[in-house]
């Protein structure tokens, strides 16, 4: 408990450093004073807007699309990544296609996404899912490749079928690498969700941000940035907690010996 408090304290100190840097930038004139409101103004605005204004709803909308997008990316990326990692044939079959699709920016897909999925959340989920797919896929693929072959042998020796091996050996052994990929995708997902909202105008933080900027309300705009940052932070904290449960063995097995 105490340990955890100290940990959180360190993190808060780190964040405080960020605030200090920001304010220093403002004070020294590196950041333009008018365009960049003070930390206090931002935090105040964030509080007001979250509890009374539309920022709360916007955050909810973004989170909703983000969660669905990330989930679909995982649903596709993890099995596909495992297949690509485990089978050389699958890997080479998909290689060119994957490498071709990967650098396609989600924004370039907006027209196609709107035509195919409409203006509703489906379009956003598609765009977020598309962007999040690659880190999950590549991370999983790497993880499967890094499995010690002797573990697979052991499982085969113990009579497991290919499918059972995938579920009971490859998946847990890959969990740490998947976790890294998903963690990466999770915050990328927030970014893409916001960007997609900016571009398409679907409701959410991004639209809120554009609106605030259009309205010249800098504090509100920065409040949206603050919230998306805090979202990222929270998401990461959740993932770290989940990762410790699912993949903690790896951390411990390497660190316990040091």
């Amino acid at each position: 408990m105490r340990h955890r408090l100290v940990h959180v304290g360190k993190g808060l100190t780190g964040l405080l450093l960020l605030v200090v840097l920001y304010e220093a930038g403002r004070a020294s004139g590196v950041f333009p004073d008018e365009a960049m409101p003070s930390t206090i103004a931002i935090v105040t605005s964030a509080f007001q807007e979250v509890f009374s204004g539309s920022l709360g709803t916007a955050t909810g909308d973004t989170l909703h699309a983000w969660a669905l997008g990330l989930l679909s990316a995982c649903a596709v990326g993890i099995p596909a990544g495992m297949a690509l990692g485990a089978s050389r044939w699958a890997d080479s079959l998909a290689k060119v296609t994957v490498e071709f699709l990967r650098p396609v920016p989600a924004v370039a897909l907006v027209p196609v996404a709107v035509i195919s999925f409409g203006l509703e959340i489906g379009m956003q989920v598609f765009l977020i899912g598309f962007a999040c797919l690659w880190p999950v896929l590549i991370g999983t693929r790497h993880g499967v490749r890094a499995i010690d072959p002797l573990m697979i042998d052991s499982a085969r020796m113990l009579g497991l079928s290919r499918r059972e091996i995938a579920v009971r050996v490859s998946l847990p052994a890959t969990a740490p690498a998947i976790a890294t990929g998903v963690r990466l995708a999770a915050s990328l997902g927030v970014v893409v969700a916001v960007a997609a909202e900016i571009v398409t105008g679907s409701p959410g933080l991004g639209q809120y941000l554009t609106q605030a900027q259009q309205g010249g309300d800098d504090a509100a705009a920065f409040a949206a940035v603050l919230i998306s940052g805090v979202l990222g932070l929270t998401v990461n904290a959740l993932f770290v907690a989940g990762e410790n449960r699912l993949a903690g063995w790896q951390q411990q097995s390497t660190e316990g010996r040091r």
Binding site: P32, S202, Q214, G215, G216
Partner: protein, 304 residues
């Protein structure tokens, strides 16, 4: 409605109250205020339309009508022509606003720091929000009318909210702003209006227009006509009640109420001629925004 193409070319259905259900993908900008008025003042309802408003950003506007997500959307006239010239089947159905009668009233204007004469812009950096969209094209037209060759000016894209910063920090010598940024920036003593974007244009130049997909417009002439009538009525109402319009703007955009009272509005006008559309076709071609011909015939539904 997720499947591609649903709704395109189909008859718009009537809902239980006997009204025709119509979806309009609108934008959260002050130029679309007639749409809000048509909805709130019952102009749509008067014409037997049950309108659902959805808000999109410009990038999603055209896909939403050609994909059947919405029946009508709002854009500016040159964008409609550009889309058509690239084979996207959209048709303008009504005009919401045109260039201002008095250029001084224009919501779009070029603000500068030290320059006094538009001719001094040649060889300098000028900020525009997005190249080849309405603000940029009107500015070019205005410059040409003053004898300045736009191709000699270096335009860079800087989003409206950052323009003032770019100006005062000296990154650009002038910036083409819209409302509410222009009004906000003008309060800064260091900045002044160099030229209005409305120079060299008349109220025959359509600015904001409503549009639908070709298939829908062909398949639903009555709905289109009803929509046209409702919009035209709303435009007329807007012109006559500028203060009411200014009061509505902050309710669906982020323009602060204070500022909304001071901002310039375009001229709300629903009738233009073919010549008015042709002007844009010429500008688009001249400025190199589209390749090849821009055919204005069929680009918009004739006024009833």
């Amino acid at each position: 409605a997720c499947a591609p193409g649903t709704g395109v070319g189909e008859k718009a259905g009537k809902d239980s109250s006997g009204k025709t259900a119509v979806t309009v993908a609108s934008l959260k900008v002050s130029a679309t205020v007639p749409v809000e008025i048509a909805q709130r003042k019952g102009f749509f309802a008067d014409e037997g339309l049950d309108v659902t408003l959805k808000y999109v950003e410009a990038a999603a506007a055209v896909p939403s009508v050609v994909g059947g997500e919405a029946d009508f959307t709002i854009l500016n006239a040159p964008a409609v022509l550009a889309a058509r010239s690239n084979g996207v089947p959209v048709v303008g159905v009504s005009v919401l606003s045109t260039a201002n009668e008095d250029p001084a009233d224009s919501p779009l204007r070029l603000l500068a720091t030290t320059l006094k004469d538009p001719e001094d812009l040649e060889g300098k950096k000028v900020a525009v929000d997005t190249l080849f969209q309405l603000p940029d094209l009107t500015l070019r037209t205005a410059l040409r009318s003053k004898g300045v060759d736009p191709s000699e000016v270096e335009f860079v894209e800087i989003p409206f909210p950052q323009m003032k910063e770019a100006l005062t920090s000296g990154q650009v010598v002038a910036a083409d702003m819209t409302e509410p940024f222009a009004t906000g920036a003008e309060q800064d003593k260091r900045l002044h209006t160099l030229i209005s974007n409305a120079e060299g244009q008349t109220t025959d130049w359509p600015h904001t227009v409503s549009l639908g997909s070709e298939a829908f417009v062909k398949g639903n002439p009555e709905v289109v006509a009803a929509f046209q009538r409702a919009m035209d009525a709303a435009v007329a109402y807007t012109r006559e009640h500028p203060d009411e319009a200014r009061a509505i703007v902050p309710t669906y955009t982020a323009v602060p109420a204070e500022l909304a009272k001071a901002i310039n509005m375009p001229t709300w006008k629903s009738t233009v001629t073919q010549k008015g559309w042709q002007n844009w076709a010429d500008v688009l071609r001249e400025e190199g925004a589209v390749k090849g011909d821009v055919d204005v015939s069929g680009a918009y539904v004739q006024q009833k």
